[in-house]
């Protein structure tokens, strides 16, 4: 599978024979094979300890997370087709790395998503209805990131790459806070990291690795040894452009050049994502600096509902990845642990119920009051905003008056 994932022309990945590609890449870390049988790669051995104590009940929880997210995703795609959402960004096929990494984080950790991390949102406590609100055109955010109920899960960022720097800034803040607690006023070039007890994880995709911001954030993270984990979900496609257009080298290798510990995992194996995520987050919290995880996965759906993958993707490629669906793989693993049909039937039914509840709630979300556009532009009083909101109110009221008279 590794050879196929990395080098098959079908996948559009870097050519290992290229003169630009030096050395041999280790096998991507995985615990489950393509079918979901427990068959750890040699590279997984050093991370196996992270799965100690993680048992069937945990895997069931992960499975529920994934199935619920896919049902929500499917529902939102339908809502967009019905004209109820302006746009939808499906995460279908990427639930595996998201569930592993989402479950690997501790409550005190901060998470910066791109805009396709619905599974992680759910794990951190964000309501799916709030996730959908911006795609219904009701807000540019959707949830209160300062509310502990939302698990330090930050807002989706649509200008890709920008969030990597915000994550690095928050991680730098975590570092500075720890230094202050220790009475350390120095942050010198080349100094080792500082134990913080908390970390920041940031998600983005293979396309975003080409953004300057994503590269600068790694430079800052390495320089200051921030407690941070970069997660690149390499889903092979940046809308219509294959990853080979972004990079001639496997993406995890770039991070090595920045001085980050970096590995490539099978992104459709939740166990691999959990084990490596857990290790890297702990190393970050303990003062060993930032890490980088390239999760090899696949965007089974379209980029967004405005996309048409049939114009640029081969049918066979989709088939290949559908046979390695992360949900199916975890199901196989659960069955090998003795979980029976009842659980899967119950999970599917619960996910459907949840998705329908969310659907109803989305359809009943209130439109924001018109004057809210003025409300939060500035923290402090601003004459131009005050004048314009007052004028707006008078102007809008003039129509009401006309209506009354008429």
């Amino acid at each position: 599978m590794t050879e196929q994932m990395i080098s098959s022309p079908l996948q559009g990945a870097a050519d290992p024979g290229s003169a630009l590609h030096t050395g041999v890449d280790p096998e991507p870390i995985r615990f489950l094979d393509d079918a979901g049988n427990y068959a750890p790669s040699a590279t997984a051995a050093e991370f196996a300890a992270e799965l100690e104590g993680v048992g069937v009940e945990d895997f069931k929880t992960w499975y529920r997370d994934m199935v619920a997210t896919r049902a929500f995703d499917t529902e939102c795609t339908h809502l967009q087709r019905q004209g109820q959402l302006a746009l939808w960004v499906p995460s279908v096929g990427q639930e595996g790395c998201q569930v592993g990494l989402g479950r690997a984080a501790e409550p005190q950790d901060h998470i910066f998503p791109a805009y396709r991390e619905h599974t992680v949102a759910r794990i951190r406590g964000v309501n799916f209805v709030d996730v959908a609100a911006q795609f219904r055109g009701l807000t540019h955010g959707g949830w209160d990131v300062t509310d502990p109920a939302n698990g330090n899960f930050h807002l989706y960022t649509l200008v890709l790459g920008a969030q990597t720097q915000h994550a690095t800034g928050v991680a730098l803040g975590q570092l500075l806070d720890a230094k202050r607690r220790a009475g350390d006023t120095a942050l010198d070039a080349g100094e080792p990291g500082t134990a913080t007890g908390e970390a920041t994880m940031v998600f983005y995709g293979d396309g975003t690795t080409s953004q300057g911001d994503a590269n600068e954030s790694m430079i800052f993270a390495a320089s200051y040894q921030t407690p941070e984990v970069f997660v690149v979900q390499n889903n092979r496609w940046a809308i219509s452009v294959p990853v080979a257009r972004q990079s001639r080298t496997p993406l995890y290798r770039r991070a090595l050049g920045f001085g980050l510990r970096s590995v490539q995992i099978d992104g459709n194996d939740p166990l691999a994502a959990y084990a490596v995520g857990r290790r890297f987050l702990r190393l970050a919290r303990e003062g060993h600096g930032p890490g980088y995880i390239e999760a090899l996965t696949y965007r089974i759906g379209a980029h967004t509902t405005a996309d048409d993958p049939t114009r640029y993707r081969e049918e066979g490629e989709l088939d290949y990845w559908q046979q390695r669906d992360p949900i199916a793989r975890l199901e196989t693993h659960l069955r090998s642990l003795g979980v029976d049909d009842d659980f899967f039937a119950e999970t599917a039914a619960a996910a459907d119920r949840e998705a329908k509840t969310v659907r109803d709630a989305i359809l009943h979300l209130p439109a924001p009051a018109a004057d809210t556009m003025f409300a939060h532009v500035y923290a402090e009083t601003h004459p131009r905003i005050d004048e314009q909101s007052a004028w707006f109110e008078r102007y809008e009221a003039s129509f009401e008056a006309e209506g009354t008279d008429g």
Binding site: V145, A162, G169, G183, T185, F220, E380
Partner: protein, 342 residues
């Protein structure tokens, strides 16, 4: 206060305590020192701001006073500086970013315009962005390309940002502290040509709020308005005009966004004439906005059209000819003559 064990005693930093004559750059330095001593969440970030004290020495000795964990020399990447400052603000810090030169701000444009300016609104007010971006701006220093520009209009055009520019050492000292105290992002344009201009700094109390304009010189015949280093040029023009029998009132804008129109409109209602002066190219500029607003609000007081004196609509030229590009007292007076004889 606590001895940190690293030779730096927090709370022991000496800040300006009595009225002193200081160059403008040093006044900003003292303002930064006072803000940092007052609030330990205030951090400085930028290129070469540590041991060197910045290319203009504005942050001189601040790293020695507060430590390298509060005065952060950064990698050479403006977007990364601003983007990281945003994250630090999310974490409750109050970062003050130095962009080395005006023309170097554009690599950070996305972080400033699409992120910093919008984050508060995106979060429905739940997340404040108390970030100050210090930008040495403007010409008159005979430097190379990208070192003498006036990019304020881009930021004044952007909702969510505040934009200010001091013209005197006392304003520089106070306005930097007021900008840092603001819970909104502030672009702080420093008139680099006036960094060495001396003036009285009174640390006992600020003269006014951050976003108030002021009358820099009273007059009766014609109003001229500008900000930052242009104010010096306007005062020179007023002096020359006085000797020729024309009384010019000089308004120092101080705040570019929002603009405090009250003193400006009051002045125009008195003089009936207005000339707006700026170093930036005039097309779609701050001066254009002022001209339009004054025309809207003081139409019946105007004896003549509002005139703009700007840089030409060309890239900032080579140093050898920059004095021909930059509006000087003569160019201002040429416009004053036109408005007086309209």
């Amino acid at each position: 206060m606590a001895d940190t064990g690293t030779g730096i005693r927090e709370g022991s930093v000496e800040t300006l305590s009595e009225r002193t004559t200081l160059p403008l750059a040093r006044a900003i330095n003292e303002g930064l020192r006072a803000a940092m001593a007052d609030n330990d969440r205030v951090l400085l970030m930028g290129e070469d701001i540590g041991p060197l004290g910045g290319v203009f020495r504005v942050t001189d000795r601040l790293q020695a006073d507060f430590g390298s964990a509060r005065v952060l020399d950064t990698p050479l990447a403006e977007s990364g500086i601003v983007g990281s400052a945003i994250g630090l603000a999310m974490r409750g810090y109050r970062p003050v970013v130095e962009i080395q030169f005006d023309g170097f701000i554009f690599p950070a444009f996305n972080q400033i315009v699409s992120q910093l300016a919008k984050i508060r609104a995106r979060h429905d007010g739940a997340v404040a962005m108390p970030v100050v971006i210090r930008v040495p701006y403007g010409g008159h220093i005979s430097s190379i390309e990208h070192h003498e520009e006036s990019p304020e209009a881009y930021f004044a055009h952007t909702p969510g940002l505040r934009v200010v520019a001091p013209s005197t050492p006392n304003d520089a000292y106070w306005m930097i502290q007021q900008a840092i105290a603001s819970d909104d992002p502030v672009l702080f344009f420093e008139p680099k040509a006036k960094y060495w201009m001396k003036g009285d700094v009174d640390p006992s109390r600020p003269t006014t709020d951050l976003h108030r304009g002021r009358i820099a010189r009273p007059g009766t015949d014609c109003t001229v308005v500008g900000f930052g280093s242009m104010v010096t040029t306007l005062l020179q023009a007023a002096e020359i005009a006085q000797s020729e029998g024309t009384s010019i009132e000089v308004v120092d804008l101080r705040s570019i966004s929002p603009i405090d129109y009250e003193p400006l409109l009051a002045s125009v209602r008195k003089t009936g004439r207005l000339v707006v002066a700026q170093e930036a190219p005039g097309n779609a500029s701050v001066g254009s906005e002022i001209a339009a607003t004054v025309a809207e609000r003081a139409f019946y007081s105007l004896q003549a059209p509002v005139l703009r004196v700007s840089g030409y609509d060309v890239p900032f030229p080579a140093a050898a000819i920059e004095q021909l590009y930059l509006p000087d007292a003569d160019r201002v007076l040429e416009a004053v003559d036109r408005t007086m004889h309209y």
